[in-house]
């Protein structure tokens, strides 16, 4: 293993994050605050409590998941797309480093950054509503697994995309809707029965549910199912990345 190479990519990506600290950190904090103002205060004043938890507290896990997923996808996809776009990828391709190691570097950095953002949002939320975390280790486990899975997914998008439009389109058309419809801001029980069934097809619902359980022991599906589902997605992404590398798809001519 060329661990120094992995570390070089990881450090490079982290340096990029810290160069754009404002974008990376301040903007999620601001948008979280906005969500609290809009959802927490405006809507929350009508809903008040969901299964014994105040609406403001109820949406915290969903908000974190929303940012975690979108950040993971955009960090990782941009991280690998940009060198392809500028041509600096020549350096990575000519280095004695395997594809697996390249993926480690990029995905590791993207996941680190989004976990950081997730924790910052958690802290910001703490300023607005009382928080309790029933199972902190489970919480961290879900946080990590989700960050890694979605970073891998973003990495795949970054390799697949050959223009900026494609880079944006999947997060915009797939990830964001799935997250919004995945029970981030409501409990699936609150939906009409038909929509409850449809929600079961939404992979994100399982993640939000499991993550929320680690806070309040409230869940739409049992936590074991959530964990299983996230492992299935992780496995699927690893498989895809492996296939991409095995065929050299869109990386080398």
């Amino acid at each position: 293993m060329n661990w120094r190479g992995v570390l070089a990519i990881y450090r490079f990506e982290m340096a990029r994050t810290f160069r754009t600290l404002f974008q990376s950190v301040v903007s999620p904090v601001i948008s979280t605050a906005l969500y609290f103002v809009v959802f927490g205060s405006a809507i929350g004043s009508r809903i008040q409590e969901v299964e014994g938890v105040s609406y403001g507290s109820f949406i915290v896990p969903g908000l974190i998941m929303l940012s975690l997923m979108t950040q993971s996808v955009s960090n990782a996809s941009f991280g690998i797309y940009f060198p392809k776009f500028t041509g600096t990828i020549y350096e990575i391709l000519s280095a004695p480093i395997s594809y697996l190691e390249i993926a480690f570097g990029y995905v590791g950095a993207a996941a680190t950054k989004s976990v950081m953002v997730g924790l910052i949002i958690l802290a910001t939320a703490g300023l607005f509503v009382p928080l309790e975390i029933a199972h902190p280790w489970w919480m961290l486990l879900f946080l990590l697994l989700t960050a890694i899975t979605f970073s891998l997914f973003g990495f795949i998008i970054g390799i697949w995309a050959d223009n900026f439009e494609k880079l944006q389109i999947i997060p915009l058309l797939v990830v964001t809707p799935l997250v919004f419809l995945g029970g981030s801001f409501y409990s699936v029980d609150m939906l009409p029965p038909v929509w409850q069934k449809i929600s079961l097809l939404n992979p994100v619902m399982y993640l939000v549910s499991g993550f929320r359980w680690s806070f309040y022991e409230l869940s739409d599906v049992t936590v074991g199912v959530s964990l299983l589902m996230i492992c299935v997605f992780l496995g699927a992404c690893i498989f895809l990345v492996w296939r991409i590398f095995a065929t050299g798809y869109r990386i080398k001519t």
Binding site: G5, A15, T88, L93, P96, G248
Partner: protein, 308 residues
């Protein structure tokens, strides 16, 4: 001696069906400077990119120091530094960080002293904390060289190192290339300029339309280039070169109407005076005479044209 890099029957067809390399075979010797000459689109960059791992090879094989570039890519790539044709850098990184990054990518332990020396050698030390976008074009090119050398490679590929480089920087660059060669680095460079190949290379390879046309010692090519031809239009045609003139290696042309004498301009005595004396002794009269010089450029142009 085993060649350091050995390219055997390498071919490459890009997606879309364009064949950029046809069955190329080439051996690169340890410690030499090889110049690859060829017109635009000849396949120089494609060849280099395959050896360095940026482009997938088609048919054939390449070994670097005995290591196959596909099966043993780690060992082969470790030995190679590449300065690509295009100036592609991360605008926001600092000079120091980007050079250290490359070293890390190649799996080498950090060595600040080495990088300091490298940046000093390339006159970039005072810019070490600058962002890359604050550098001039020539500085960027030197930075690319620093990156390529950051992991102490034994082989350096320079793809058109002098494109957009002024005369004095070019001299500096050749100075550096020579010093590197002295320290044992094997250098392969591509260029469109024949004079450059002449100035710096030990051997010259001409590549055109994806085929190697010739690979030869520069001195050998220089000998060809250095030769001049004296052509004499004879008054009376000859059937054969008279015995008395055998030592001059003359050739008859145009059904015996012309005598051609090839001589070396670099030699102190060209032998022309003696030849003219001998001619008049042999009673051979001529009406006119002219001289031609064949340059490396002529050879190059002829070689390239012959292929079309």
């Amino acid at each position: 001696m085993r060649p350091l890099i050995s390219v055997v029957n390498l071919s490459k067809t890009y997606e879309g069906g364009f064949t950029a390399l046809h069955d190329i075979s080439l051996e690169i010797r340890e410690g030499e400077i090889l110049a690859l000459l060829g017109p635009n689109g000849a396949g120089k960059t494609t060849l280099i990119s395959i050896v360095c791992g940026i482009v997938n090879p088609g048919g054939g094989s390449v070994t670097v120091d005995g290591f196959d570039i596909v099966a043993d890519y780690r060992q082969s790539r470790e030995r190679i530094g590449l300065v690509p044709q295009e100036l592609t850098t991360d605008a926001f990184e600092s000079v120091w960080n980007t050079v250290s990054f490359t070293r890390g990518l190649f799996g080498k332990a950090p060595d600040p002293d080495y990088i300091e020396q490298l940046l000093k050698d390339l006159s970039l030390w005072d810019k070490k904390d600058n962002r890359i976008m604050q550098l001039s074009g020539g500085m960027k090119r030197r930075l690319m060289i620093a990156k390529a050398l950051s992991h102490e490679p034994r082989i350096l590929f320079l793809d058109e190192p002098t494109a957009g480089v002024d005369v004095s920087l070019r001299q500096d660059m050749w100075g550096l290339v020579r010093r590197l060669r002295e320290s044992g680095v094997t250098i392969i460079l591509t260029t469109h300029y024949i004079e450059e190949a002449e100035e710096i290379a030990d051997r010259v390879g001409v590549i055109n339309r994806g085929r190697i046309v010739v690979v030869e010692d520069k001195v050998e090519l220089m000998r060809k280039m250095g030769s001049k031809q004296l052509t004499l239009d004879l008054h009376d045609t000859l059937d054969q070169v008279p015995e008395a003139l055998a030592e001059y290696g003359l050739e008859l042309q145009n059904d015996g109407q012309q005598l051609v004498y090839t001589y070396d301009v670099h030699r102190e005595r060209t032998g022309i005076t003696a030849l003219l004396g001998a001619l008049s002794e042999a009673g051979i009269r001529f009406r006119d005479l002219k001289t031609d010089q064949s340059s490396l450029e002529d050879i190059f142009v002829n070689l390239v044209r012959e292929q079309e």
